[in-house]
């Protein structure tokens, strides 16, 4: 494998090999564990200052992909390049200690016998004592834990621990950061706050990162792009907006958020569903129309007196004809009501509704498109 020998002495040399190249590029990565296929031909590239969110159901291979990039798992076939240097070609694997990758896992991966400062300093090499101390202080400042250097991990809260983990991972100036469900064990409010801080720390240091999560909201909030994985493959890799609103399969649509699907009638270039026209770019095999809860609104039958007059002012004009139905379930979500509506001959869609005008289960009415919203055709691969 002469392609590995980039510097004659060893088979890899991870350093800044010029600018403009991808921080990571993975090609045809395959990994089996006995007879289970964890990675089934994954290829993608990550830009030099990009944050990629990696989502997928559990067991889809997202952690394996992360471990392969980090050097903790060796690929069966395929290649991993970091900044243009080949680090894994299925035969030779550069060990993790030579990949200059920062890792942040769930809680509890801080070294419990070392103080916060010692944890952060663990990966820093070749600095004198005073410069080391200055560097550690600088990193702790970055994660807003200035006076924590003498504490031990068990004296910190979950959120503080994760910030120390981040500082520790950033300390050796990694060329890439990998975060494997870093906030999974934190409570929801802290989680939102912390991920904002993490993202700004990554941006501040210009560190590209791959962020594994099983939370779609988190993925879309964090990622410049979102990769949706399933059964060892990347189903779609695109901007959060595109992945959510123009998913390339029914699976991605359903995985990224609440979704209902309606049959599509194809008439030449004009595609439509019972709720209205359906957008599509190019051909779609077995198309179905994706309906998100915010795309539609429920209008009760007949009585305009029960208080929903103004709430509907934006609705109705884009409505098709076939939206009549009945509410079969209603769920209160604080800011909104969430209705499940069974349409005339069977299919069900979800519709968000104002908390000011709640409807009951059994309410007859019709579902109409919200002004400006369009239905999207997706391939009917479950």
């Amino acid at each position: 494998m002469d392609s590995l020998a980039v510097n004659g002495t060893g088979y890899a040399d991870i350093a800044d090999n010029g600018t403009g190249r991808a921080a990571v590029s993975v090609h045809g990565a395959v990994k089996h564990f006995h007879d289970v296929v964890a990675l089934d031909g994954v290829s993608f590239e990550l830009g030099r200052d990009e944050l990629l969110a990696l989502v997928g159901p559990s067991g889809c291979g997202k952690s394996t992909l992360l471990r392969a990039i980090a050097g903790l798992t060796a690929l069966d076939t395929g290649t991993v390049e970091l900044n243009g240097s080949l680090v894994d070609d299925g035969r030779h694997h550069v060990p993790p200690e030579h990949r200059r990758i920062g890792l942040v896992f769930q809680e509890h991966s801080l070294f419990p016998h070392l103080t916060v400062a010692q944890n952060v300093a663990f990966g820093i090499k070749g600095l004198g004592r005073s410069r080391l101390a200055a560097r550690v202080a600088e990193l702790l400042e970055l994660v807003e834990l200035d006076d924590y250097d003498d504490r031990y991990p068990h004296e910190l809260s979950g959120g503080e621990r994760q910030r120390v983990s981040l500082a520790r991972a950033l300390a050796p100036e990694p060329t890439l950061m990998l975060l494997d469900e870093p906030f999974a064990s934190l409570d929801p409010n802290l989680r939102v706050q912390l991920r904002g801080e993490v993202v700004s720390a990554l941006r501040a240091t210009n560190t590209p990162a791959i962020f594994v999560t099983h939370d779609q909201t988190e993925a879309m909030a964090v990622g410049d792009r979102v990769a949706v994985m399933r059964s060892g493959r990347i189903e779609q890799l695109a901007s959060p907006d595109e992945v959510f609103h123009r998913p390339n399969s029914r699976f991605v649509a359903a995985f990224m958020g609440e979704a209902a699907f309606l049959p599509v009638t194809v008439d030449g270039d004009r595609w439509s569903s019972r709720l209205g026209p359906v957008e599509h770019d190019g051909p779609v095999t077995d198309p179905v129309a994706l309906v998100r809860p915010d795309d539609v609104v429920f209008e009760p039958l007949g009585d305009a007196e029960d208080g929903n007059g103004s709430a509907d002012s934006t609705a109705g004009r884009a409505a098709g004809s076939g939206g009549s139905g009945v509410i079969v379930a209603a769920e209160f979500r604080g800011a909104q009501w969430h209705y499940k509506v069974r349409l005339a001959d069977g299919p069900e869609v979800y519709a968000a509704g104002s908390h000011l005008t709640p409807y009951r289960v059994g309410q007859q009415g019709r579902v109409v498109m919200v002004d400006g919203h369009r239905l999207t055709a997706v391939a009917d691969r479950p």
Binding site: I14, A15, D16, R67, R100, I101, P172
Partner: protein
């Protein structure tokens, strides 16, 4: 500042070094058994015919009866006591819960000679018996297979007891209660739910007991019992005929394989499923009145007979002997043998724990499953009876000797037949497994993510092992050292077979004195061994009582943070 990194020699070594170390360890452990097994391929029919015509049929019979008898004895005692202390509360039941493992500290060769001294012809029991019932009154024979079975059962039942208790706590508890709530009576629930759930634990415990029985050839000789292990000892110490001894040792190996096979069959497809979290176990029922005191009496007499009384007897003899000899309590010979024991135990402990450390870390760093296989192979020594290990080591060392001589590096002296090196090697092979268990359980406390993080921060495996794994697994490493050292100090069969001329340990001295019926003199070394053996037993019983306290806490403090 970004420093450029490249894979130099050191990096490459650190990549292949760990799996190589693990496989080297596995090879060293497997080599003796492999050498021995090869003699099966080319059997010397003359040896077998001669043995078959003389002792072999009797040895086979007595081995089988001894193994079966001890299994039944330990099963009855172990399971019965485990059930009694888990399912009922009676005066002292908590204390007995951990005290019942004390007999583990009593080597069978010590309890064996104490039994002889008390119940033997010249002992106090028979003397009294004769003075009451006349000079020719019948007394059951003490030097017999039956008494040997009783002695082994008394010493070895804690193995079954411990596993049965753990299974009762972790698995059977809720199942038993569910069965009861579904309308099964206590007996039916026990028969249909508890016993099937206990079966894997019972199978494992019994296998350990059989292995311990099979490895012995010293205690059985007190009782005139002739097993296949005794056969190996006789041939080797009688003739030093390497080929004949190794032929015969393969027979012991076959018995060991049978025991392992039996365990597999008994365990069936059942697995040790650790219940998620800390299971509550069977909620015990309070016994009252006579039944409560009967339960106390049963547990009390087991502890008394298996541990307390023997320990007191030894202590009194040791004091009497010291008073009689009118010298210091510790004679010069005692100190010499103690030193031998300590040196051997320390060397074994260090070798085993260093090897275990390498293997456990190799497993952590190695991405291939091959390292896992190596780790499992290094633990097989514990399932190989002492005589097999000893003879196998002789063969391995002879082969090594020959190989070294062939390349002009002859070692001085008789390396194989009685060198300290061969002895320590055999000890290490036999005792690597408990060391590895302890070290691995310590390393398991370090999350894999932590290892990964440390490596991604630019540290080589060696540095991660030194700076992260070692500080965090320190306690387990110390535990491993203690466990191996104590086992080495107690060990008798291997040292009897392999000791260099004039090299006596405390265990050998005890055995020799007891064989000559000099029980009083044997008391001090025996007591020393028991005292040392109490260290790991105390650690274990502390664990048990702490866990029980934790469970009790949960009972009255539900829903902790």
């Amino acid at each position: 500042m970004i420093d450029r990194v490249r894979l130099g020699i050191g990096d490459r070594l650190s990549l292949i070094g760990w799996p190589v170390a693990a496989w080297l360890a596995a090879l060293l452990v497997v080599a003796p058994v492999a050498f021995l097994a090869t003699s099966l391929l080319d059997p010397n029919l003359e040896v077998w015919r001669q043995q078959w015509d003389t002792r072999l049929p009797g040895q086979l019979y007595e081995t089988v009866v001894l193994l079966v008898g001890v299994s039944i004895g330990t099963l009855v005692m172990g399971c019965g006591l485990a059930w009694l202390t888990s399912a009922y509360r009676f005066p002292g039941s908590r204390t007995f819960g951990w005290m019942l493992i004390a007999p583990l500290a009593m080597p069978s060769y010590v309890l064996g000679f104490l039994t002889l001294s008390v119940f033997g012809y010249a002992g106090p029991v028979q003397s009294t018996w004769r003075s009451v019932l006349g000079e020719n009154a019948w007394f059951p024979p003490v030097r017999s297979l039956t008494v040997a079975i009783l002695v082994f059962s008394t010493v070895l039942f804690p193995y079954v007891y411990l596993l049965a208790r753990a299974a009762l706590r972790d698995q059977a508890g809720s199942s038993y209660e569910v069965a009861r709530s579904l309308g099964a009576g206590p007996i039916e629930a026990a028969r249909r739910v508890v016993i099937p759930l206990l079966r894997p634990a019972i199978a494992a415990g019994t296998a350990v007991v059989m292995m311990e029985t099979l490895t012995d050839f010293a205690t059985v000789q007190y009782f005139g019992v002739d097993t296949v292990s005794v056969g190996v000892f006789r041939i080797w110490r009688g003739t030093f005929d390497r080929d004949a001894a190794s032929e015969f040792a393969t027979l012991v190996l076959v018995f060991a394989l049978l025991v392992i096979g039996l365990e597999r069959v008994l365990r069936g497809r059942a697995r040790y499923g650790q219940a998620a979290g800390e299971a509550a176990g069977i909620s015990p029922r309070r016994l009252r009145g006579a039944r409560a005191w009967a339960a106390t009496a049963v547990c009390g007499s087991v502890v008394a007979l298996a541990f307390a009384a023997p320990a007191v007897r030894l202590a009194l003899w040791a004091l009497e002997e010291a008073a009689r000899s009118d010298r210091s309590l510790f004679s010069a010979r005692y100190l010499e043998f103690l030193q031998n024991s300590l040196v051997l135990a320390s060397v074994t402990a260090v070798v085993c724990v260093v090897t275990a450390w390498l293997v456990a870390n190799a497993r952590r760093f190695g991405s291939s499953s091959a390292t896992g296989v190596a780790a499992r192979l290094t633990a097989v020594g514990y399932a190989v009876p002492g005589p097999v290990v000893a003879i196998g080591v002789i063969l391995a060392v002879v082969a090594l000797d020959g190989a070294l001589e062939a390349i002009g590096l002859g070692l001085p002296g008789a390396l194989a037949t009685g060198s300290f090196l061969a002895l320590a090697y055999a000890y290490a092979v036999r005792l690597l497994a408990p060391g590895l268990n302890a070290v691995e359980s310590g390393l398991d406390q370090v999350p894999v993510d932590m290892t990964s993080t440390a490596r991604s921060l630019g540290r080589r495996p060696g540095a991660v092992a030194a700076h992260i794994h070692l500080p965090l697994a320190r306690t387990s490493v110390v535990t491993a050292l203690v466990l191996v050292a104590v086992d080495a100090l107690k060990e008798l069969p291997i040292v009897l077979l392999l000791r260099p001329f004039g090299f006596d340990t405390l265990s050998v001295w005890t055995y020799n004195l007891a064989s000559e019926s000099r029980f009083e003199q044997a008391a001090l070394p025996a007591l020393s061994i028991v005292a040392v053996a109490l260290i790991p037993v105390t650690m274990l019983s502390r664990q048990i009582s702490r866990r029980e306290a934790a469970v009790t806490d949960q009972e009255w403090r539900p829903g902790h943070g």
